[in-house]
C-alpha cells in the first residue's frame, strides 16, 4: 500500500481521509462507471414511482412507497459499495475461494428440503431467496461476484487455458454455482454465468478457435435442451416465435407480458408521453413486473426512443469505465475481474432490454441499477465498488507482462 507508507508521520484520521480522498483521483478510469451507476439508479427511483401510480394522478403526491424503498436500497447499496472499495482488491483475490465457498454453502442451504417456508419461501416455484426478516437475500447474486473473483484469480498467471484441456478447470469452477442455481430452478440467473466466463476467457487470451468450437457445439446441441425445459419456459419460446410470425392469437395469454411491454414502449414514441399520462397508461395497461423486470418499458413509455437510447448509452458508459479500468490496470487479476463484471452486467442488460422490446423470450432477469429490489441493487453497486477499487489500487508498475504468449 504505497499511499499508506507515504503518510506515516502522523496517522491522524482526518488527514488519512483527506489523503485517501486525494489519492482516490487515481481511480479516474472508473469514473464513467460510477457516473453511469448513479445516473441509472437515480432515474430508477423516479420511474418506479411512475410505475407505482394507482388512481387518477393529480401530480402532487409524495413519492410512492416503492420509490422511497428503492431510494433506501440505493443508500444501502452505495454504502456497501464503499465497503467493497475499502479492502485492497488483491486481498479480495486471496479471499475469493473462501467467498465462493460461502456462497456455495448458501446455495446448498436453499436446496435443503426441510428448511421452513418462513426462511426459504419459494417464489414462482423457485427456491432462490432467503428471508432475513428485514429483507430478502438472493445468494446467487453474491455467487456472481465471488465467481468473477475466483475466475480472475485462477486465470491471472495461467497459460494452460490456451489448450482445450486447460479450459476444463474454469468450466468446472463455473459448473458448481451454475448447477446449484439451476436446481432452484433459476434458469435465467444460471445462464448469465456462461457469457461472463466467455468474456473472461476471451480477455485472458484463450484461443478463439477453441471458444468458437465450443459455442458452435453448444448452439447445435441447444435444441436438445428444449424437451427438458419447464412448460412455462417452453411457452415463452413458443410465444416469441408466434410474435415473430405475426401471430396474435396468444397475445392475451402466453404473450401478454411481452405484448403489453412492447405496446407501452411503442406508445412512448420519440420523446415519451407526459408524466401523468405515462402513469395512467402504465396502470391501466397493467404490465406485470413493471417495477422490476419490465422497468425498461417504463423508461421508454415515459421518455420514449430518446430515453431508451440514453439508458442504453449509460450502460455503454458503464462499460467504458470498466474497460478503461481494465486497460489502465497493469495487473492480470484486476483486468480479468473488470472484464468478468462487465460480462455479467452486459449480458444482463442485453437480455433484459431484449425481453422488454420483444427480441428475447421473457426470463426473470432484472435490469442492473434500475429494477426495483434490494438484492439486485446491492450486487450491482458492489460491482461498481469493485471497479473503483481496481481503478484506485491498480499497481503503478507492471509486475509482469500479462497475457503475452509466445505461441500466439
Amino acid at each position: 500500500m504505497p499511499y499508506a507508507a507515504s503518510s506515516s508521520r502522523r496517522p491522524g484520521v482526518v488527514s488519512a481521509i483527506i489523503h485517501g480522498a486525494l489519492s482516490l483521483s487515481r481511480a479516474w478510469p472508473a469514473l464513467p462507471t460510477v457516473v453511469a451507476s448513479l445516473a441509472l439508479s437515480l432515474l430508477s427511483i423516479y420511474l418506479i414511482d411512475v410505475a407505482s401510480t394507482r388512481d387518477p394522478y393529480d401530480g402532487v403526491r409524495p413519492l410512492s412507497a416503492p420509490a422511497v424503498r428503492q431510494a433506501l436500497y440505493l443508500l444501502i447499496a452505495i454504502a456497501a459499495s464503499v465497503l467493497a472499495i475499502a479492502p485492497p482488491y488483491r486481498r479480495l483475490g486471496t479471499l475469493s475461494w473462501t467467498l465462493l465457498g460461502i456462497s456455495v454453502l448458501f446455495l446448498i442451504f436453499l436446496l435443503i428440503p426441510g428448511v421452513p417456508a418462513s426462511i426459504v419461501r419459494p417464489r414462482n416455484g423457485a427456491r432462490s431467496w432467503i428471508d432475513l426478516g428485514v429483507a430478502d437475500f438472493q445468494p446467487s447474486e453474491i455467487a456472481k461476484i465471488a465467481y468473477v473473483l475466483v475466475l480472475a484469480w485462477y486465470l491471472r498467471f495461467r497459460r494452460n487455458h490456451r489448450t482445450l484441456s486447460g479450459l476444463l478447470p474454469p468450466a468446472i469452477i463455473t459448473f458448481i454455482p451454475v448447477g446449484l442455481i439451476l436446481l432452484q430452478p433459476d434458469l435465467g440467473t444460471a445462464a448469465l454465468f456462461i457469457p461472463a466466463l466467455f468474456a473472461v476467457l476471451v480477455a485472458a487470451g484463450a484461443k478463439l478457435r477453441h471458444l468458437f468450437m465450443i459455442v458452435l457445439i453448444a448452439t447445435l446441441a441447444a435444441p436438445a435442451v428444449y424437451p427438458i425445459l419447464k412448460p412455462h419456459q417452453k411457452q415463452r419460446i413458443v410465444g416469441l416465435l408466434l410474435q415473430i410470425r405475426g401471430d396474435t392469437s396468444a397475445d392475451q395469454d402466453i404473450n401478454m407480458q411481452s405484448v403489453t411491454s412492447q405496446r407501452l414502449v411503442g406508445a412512448g414514441g420519440r420523446t415519451g408521453v407526459g408524466d401523468a399520462h405515462s402513469r395512467m397508461l402504465l396502470h391501466y395497461n397493467a404490465l406485470p413486473e413493471r417495477r422490476t423486470d419490465m422497468i425498461f418499458a417504463v423508461v421508454c413509455n415515459r421518455f420514449g426512443w430518446l430515453g431508451g437510447l440514453a439508458v442504453i448509452g449509460l450502460y455503454g458508459l458503464w462499460a467504458l469505465g470498466a474497460i478503461a479500468t481494465a486497460a489502465a490496470c497493469r495487473e492480470p487479476f484486476g483486468r480479468l475481474a473488470c472484464i468478468g463484471l462487465l460480462g455479467f452486467i452486459g449480458v444482463q442488460v442485453f437480455i433484459n432490454i431484449g425481453m422488454n422490446i420483444g427480441v428475447v423470450p421473457i426470463v426473470g432477469i432484472t435490469l442492473p441499477y434500475m429494477s426495483f429490489g434490494g438484492s439486485s441493487m446491492l450486487t450491482v453497486w458492489i460491482m461498481t465498488g469493485l471497479v473503483v477499487n481496481i481503478a484506485w489500487r491498480r499497481p503503478r508498475v507492471t509486475l509482469r507482462k500479462p497475457f503475452v504468449f509466445e505461441d500466439d
Binding site: G205, C300, W305, I312, I323, R335, F350
Partner: protein, 789 residues
C-alpha cells in the same frame, strides 16, 4: 497485421473484440426500439390508450306495436329476475360464515394453535346461527315477492339438482378421460393414483360459484324492493349461541346474502287474450239466441304480431339472414344509419348477450325498426370523466288492424259459437259429427284504402303454449296452428274468381256483354263426363233450362255457371288468362312485413310456361293449377269494387303508399260482374242467398240496411295425407287425415256502395254458401258492432 501493430498487447486486442461484441449486441436492441417507437408508435399508442377507456352498454327499449286506434298490442314491460349465489342456495354459505366467525372468535393466533377437531367444534357452535339467519332471509324474500315459502324451496331444490347432476356427469367424464390418459402413458393405476384422479376431477364447476335464478318475472315495484333487500345488512341472531361470549364474533351480513336483482324486461301483449260478448240474435236459427255469449279468445293477432325468442346467450351467432336484413334496413333508413354506429364504428343495434330477438311474425320482420339502439357510456378511467350517448328507443309500429274487430271475428270463428263447426244444415258430404271444429281464415279489407282491418286465422296459438307446449302449435298437421292461413296457406280459389274472370274476358274482348252463352251442362258436346256444371252433375239439369234462357255474364256469376266460364277460359287461353291474373297481384308477394306469405301460384313454374289450354279452361273457374290466399281473394274483390283499380293491401301504416294501378277494365264488364255478385246473394237464383234449415229458407245475409255483393266457392282441394306406414313403395296406403272441398265466401259490403271486402275460407268445410256464408254475415254484424258499417 495492422491490429497487432496498433495494439501490441493481446489483452488490448481481446478487450477491443469484446467491446465490438457488446456494440454489435446493442444493435438489434436499438433497431427494435426504433421500430416500436417510430413506425409502430401510432398503432401501439392507440392500443395503450384504449385501456384507459371503459365502455358500458345501456339497454334500449323495444318499440311498441299499436293498432289503428292506438291500442298498445305489444310493449316492453320492466320486469326482474331474482338470482342468488349457489353456495347460499345450498346453505353452504352458513357453514363458511360459521367458519369465519369461529376464526374471528378464536383470534388469528388462537386459531393457528387449535387442532382441526377444536376448529370444527367451534365452527359447529356458530352454524345454527347462520342457518337460522338464512331461513329468516328466505322467509323474508318469499313474503316480499308473494310466493309460498314452499315454492321458493322447490326452486332452490331444482337449481341444486340441476347443478349437482351436471357436476356429477362432468366428474365422471373427467375421471374417465384421466384414467384413459394414464393408461395411454402406461402408468400403473394404484389406489393412491385413482384417489388423486378423483380428487382432481371433483373440482367444482363454474355453476357452483355462479348465481342462479330463483324467481322470474317479478314486477317493477317488487324488483325495486328486492334490490333494497339485497343491500340490507343485519346482525345474525345471537340468542342461538350457547355461549354469550361468542356473540362478539358476529358481524352484520346481508339478510339474503348473494342475492341480486337482474333486469329481465318482458315483452307484454296486453290484448293477447280477452273476453268478447257476441250477440247471437242474427245467427242461423239453430244457433241463434237472444242472450249474448261471452267468448274468451286467446292468442289474438298472434300470427301477425309473432313473438320474441328467449334472451340470447353469449355464444349466439345470430338469426339466419338477419345481417342482410339489418343492412337493408340501414340502407333504407339513412337517418337510422347515421345514429346506429358508435365513434369507433360499432353497431349499437347489433345483438349482444341477453338481447331479446323477434322470432316470428311482425316482431321478427320489423325487428330492426323495433329494436332501437343501445346507449353507450364511455368512461375515461384516468380522468374519471364519462361520455354518455343515450339509448335510442325503438320505433313504434302502427298497424291498420282493429284489434277489437280482430278479436270479435276470431270469436265468431271459435268452435264454441258453432258457426265454424260441422252443422246439420250444411249437408256435410262426409257426415262428420255435428260440432266437429272447422279451421279457416277471414280477411277484412277497406276498399278505399286497401288497409287490412282484420286478418284472422284459426286455430290460433298463445305465446304460453309456444313456450310450454310447442308440439300443440307445430305438431298437428291438420290444425297447423302456426300457419297464418290468411296470407301463408295456398288455397284453390274456386268459383269466387268468376266475377273477376268475367271482367277480364270483357276487357280482353273475349266476351261481348250483349251476347249470351248456352249452358248445356258440359262444355264439350261429346264428353258429358268432364267440364261440367255442378247442377248437371248433381241433378242432370242445366242453367239454360233452369233460367229458361241462355246466360249473360250477370246470370253466369249469379248461378256460378261453370260451362259459361269454361267457355271464357277457352277463349282467353293461357295467354289471356295468366297475364290477367297476374295483373291482379296473383304470383306476387304482398310484402306486408308480418311473416311469411304465399305469393299465389299460376302453374308449376314461376313463369307459368308449363300451362296449356286445358289448364286455362280449369283456371277460369278457379280450379286447376292456380292457388291463392284469402287476402288475394279480398284484394281481387276490392279491385272489382274499385272498377278495376288495384291498390296493394297494407297492414303496417308506415308502408302505405298511394300508388293505385288502373287495370283499365271494361266498365260494362265490371258492371255485369258487380250485378252478378249482387244477384248471387240477393237474387232468387243466387247461390249465396239462402240456407235451407229444417225445410225452411233463411237468408244468409240479414244485416238491415247493408248491401252485400258476394260469391260462393266450393273449391276442390287436395287431401291431407298421414304418414305412409310402409314407405312409398309398400302396398299400404297412407291414411287420409282430411279431404273434401274448401268452403269460400267472398263479399263486398256497404250501406251505399261497397266499403269492405271480406273473404272467408273454411278448410274442408264443404259448401261455400252454407259454411262460410253465415260467418261472412256475422263479420258484417261485427263491423256494425265496431262502428264500421
Amino acid at each position: 497485421m495492422l491490429l497487432e501493430t496498433l495494439f501490441p498487447s493481446l489483452f488490448a486486442r481481446r478487450v477491443l473484440l469484446l467491446a465490438a461484441g457488446l456494440s454489435f449486441a446493442a444493435l438489434p436492441l436499438a433497431l427494435q426500439l426504433t421500430r416500436l417507437t417510430g413506425p409502430k408508435h401510432d398503432e401501439l399508442l392507440a392500443q395503450a390508450e384504449q385501456r384507459l377507456v371503459r365502455r358500458q352498454w345501456t339497454p334500449t327499449v323495444r318499440g311498441r306495436v299499436l293498432d289503428r286506434h292506438a291500442r298498445v298490442l305489444a310493449q316492453d314491460r320492466p320486469s326482474y329476475d331474482i338470482v342468488v349465489a349457489f353456495p347460499v342456495i345450498t346453505g353452504e354459505w352458513a357453514r363458511s360464515q360459521a367458519g369465519i366467525a369461529a376464526r374471528r372468535a378464536a383470534g388469528a393466533g388462537g386459531w393457528a394453535n387449535m387442532s382441526p377437531a377444536d376448529r370444527d367444534d367451534l365452527t359447529e357452535r356458530f352454524l345454527p346461527v347462520y342457518q337460522a339467519h338464512l331461513e329468516r332471509g328466505w322467509d323474508r324474500l318469499a313474503s316480499l315477492v308473494g310466493v309460498p315459502r314452499a315454492h321458493l324451496d322447490a326452486q332452490r331444490d331444482a337449481v341444486y339438482a340441476a347443478v349437482t347432476s351436471r357436476h356429477a356427469a362432468l366428474v365422471a367424464r373427467r375421471v374417465e378421460s384421466a384414467i384413459e390418459e394414464a393408461n395411454a402413458r402406461g402408468q400403473a393405476l394404484t389406489d393412491a393414483a385413482r384417489r388423486a384422479i378423483e380428487r382432481r376431477a371433483s373440482q367444482p364447476i363454474a355453476e357452483m360459484r355462479a348465481s342462479h335464478t330463483l324467481l322470474t318475472r317479478v314486477d317493477d315495484d317488487i324488483g325495486f324492493q328486492c334490490a333494497a333487500l339485497a343491500g340490507d345488512e343485519t346482525l345474525p341472531d345471537a340468542t342461538l349461541l350457547a355461549d354469550d361470549s361468542l356473540a362478539s364474533a358476529l358481524v352484520a351480513v346481508p339478510l339474503v346474502p348473494g342475492m341480486d336483482v337482474i333486469d329481465s324486461g318482458e315483452r307484454d301483449y296486453p290484448y293477447e287474450s280477452l273476453s268478447i260478448s257476441v250477440d247471437r240474435s242474427a245467427f242461423p236459427s239453430p244457433l241463434a239466441s237472444r242472450t249474448p255469449l261471452s267468448v274468451w279468445v286467446e292468442g289474438v293477432a298472434c300470427h301477425i304480431l309473432g313473438h320474441l325468442r328467449d334472451r340470447v346467450a353469449g355464444d349466439w351467432a345470430g338469426v339466419p339472414g338477419d345481417a342482410s336484413r339489418r343492412r337493408a334496413f340501414l340502407d333504407a333508413n339513412p337517418a337510422a344509419a347515421r345514429d346506429a354506429f358508435t365513434a369507433d364504428g360499432e353497431d349499437r343495434g347489433a345483438y349482444r348477450e341477453g338481447d331479446r330477438i323477434g322470432d316470428a311474425g311482425l316482431e321478427a320482420m320489423q325487428e330492426h325498426t323495433l329494436r332501437g339502439l343501445r346507449g353507450v357510456k364511455t368512461t375515461r378511467l384516468d380522468t374519471r370523466t364519462a361520455d354518455i350517448l343515450p339509448a335510442q328507443p325503438g320505433q313504434d309500429v302502427t298497424l291498420t288492424l282493429d284489434l277489437l274487430l280482430q278479436a270479435r271475428i276470431q270469436a265468431l270463428m271459435s268452435p264454441e259459437l258453432g258457426l265454424a263447426t260441422v252443422q246439420p244444415w250444411q249437408g256435410d258430404e262426409r257426415q262428420r259429427p255435428t260440432g266437429t271444429p272447422l279451421y279457416g281464415a277471414a280477411v277484412v279489407l277497406d276498399v278505399d284504402t286497401a288497409e287490412i282491418i282484420a286478418m284472422v286465422s284459426t286455430p290460433t296459438y298463445t305465446r304460453r303454449q309456444l313456450r310450454e307446449d310447442p308440439r300443440s302449435v307445430f305438431g298437428d298437421e291438420v290444425a297447423t296452428a302456426h300457419i297464418n292461413r290468411a296470407i301463408a296457406k295456398p288455397y284453390p280459389p274456386g268459383s269466387v274468381v268468376k266475377a273477376a274472370v268475367l271482367a277480364g274476358a270483357v276487357t280482353n274482348g273475349n266476351y261481348n256483354p250483349d251476347h249470351r252463352i248456352h249452358c248445356g251442362g258440359h262444355l264439350l258436346p261429346n264428353r258429358p263426363d268432364m267440364y261440367r256444371c255442378l247442377i248437371y252433375k248433381r241433378y242432370s239439369t242445366t242453367h239454360s233450362i233452369v233460367l229458361g234462357r241462355d246466360l249473360d255474364g250477370t246470370d253466369a256469376v249469379m248461378v256460378s255457371c261453370n260451362v259459361f266460364f269454361f267457355t271464357l277460359g277457352r277463349r282467353m287461353g293461357v295467354e289471356g288468362l295468366v297475364p290477367f291474373y297476374r295483373s291482379m297481384g296473383i304470383g306476387e308477394p304482398f310484402g306486408l312485413g308480418v311473416g311469411p306469405e304465399f305469393r299465389g301460384q299460376l302453374g308449376a313454374r314461376a313463369d307459368s310456361s308449363d300451362l296449356a289450354l286445358p289448364d286455362a279452361i280449369q283456371m277460369a273457374i278457379g280450379q286447376g293449377p292456380i292457388a291463392w290466399t284469402p287476402l288475394h281473394a279480398a284484394d281481387v274483390f276490392a279491385t272489382i269494387a274499385r272498377g278495376g283499380v288495384r291498390r296493394p293491401p297494407v297492414i303496417i301504416r308506415a308502408s302505405m303508399r298511394d300508388d293505385p294501378s288502373d287495370l283499365a277494365w271494361n266498365s260494362r264488364g265490371v258492371a255485369q260482374a258487380m250485378e252478378g255478385l249482387r244477384l248471387a246473394v240477393n237474387g232468387e237464383r243466387g247461390t249465396g242467398r239462402t240456407l235451407t234449415i229444417n225445410q225452411r229458407q233463411e237468408p244468409i245475409f240479414n244485416a238491415p240496411g247493408v248491401n252485400v255483393w258476394g260469391k260462393t266457392g266450393t273449391a276442390e282441394a287436395p287431401p291431407i295425407m298421414g304418414p305412409d306406414p310402409d314407405g312409398p313403395d309398400g302396398p299400404l296406403k297412407p291414411s287420409v287425415l282430411e279431404e273434401g272441398d274448401h268452403s269460400w265466401f267472398v263479399i263486398l259490403a256497404g250501406r251505399d256502395r261497397p266499403r269492405y271486402a271480406i273473404s272467408v275460407v273454411i278448410d274442408y268445410g264443404g259448401s261455400g254458401g252454407k259454411v262460410s256464408g253465415p260467418i261472412a254475415n256475422q263479420i258484417i254484424h261485427a263491423l256494425i258492432a265496431e262502428g264500421y258499417l
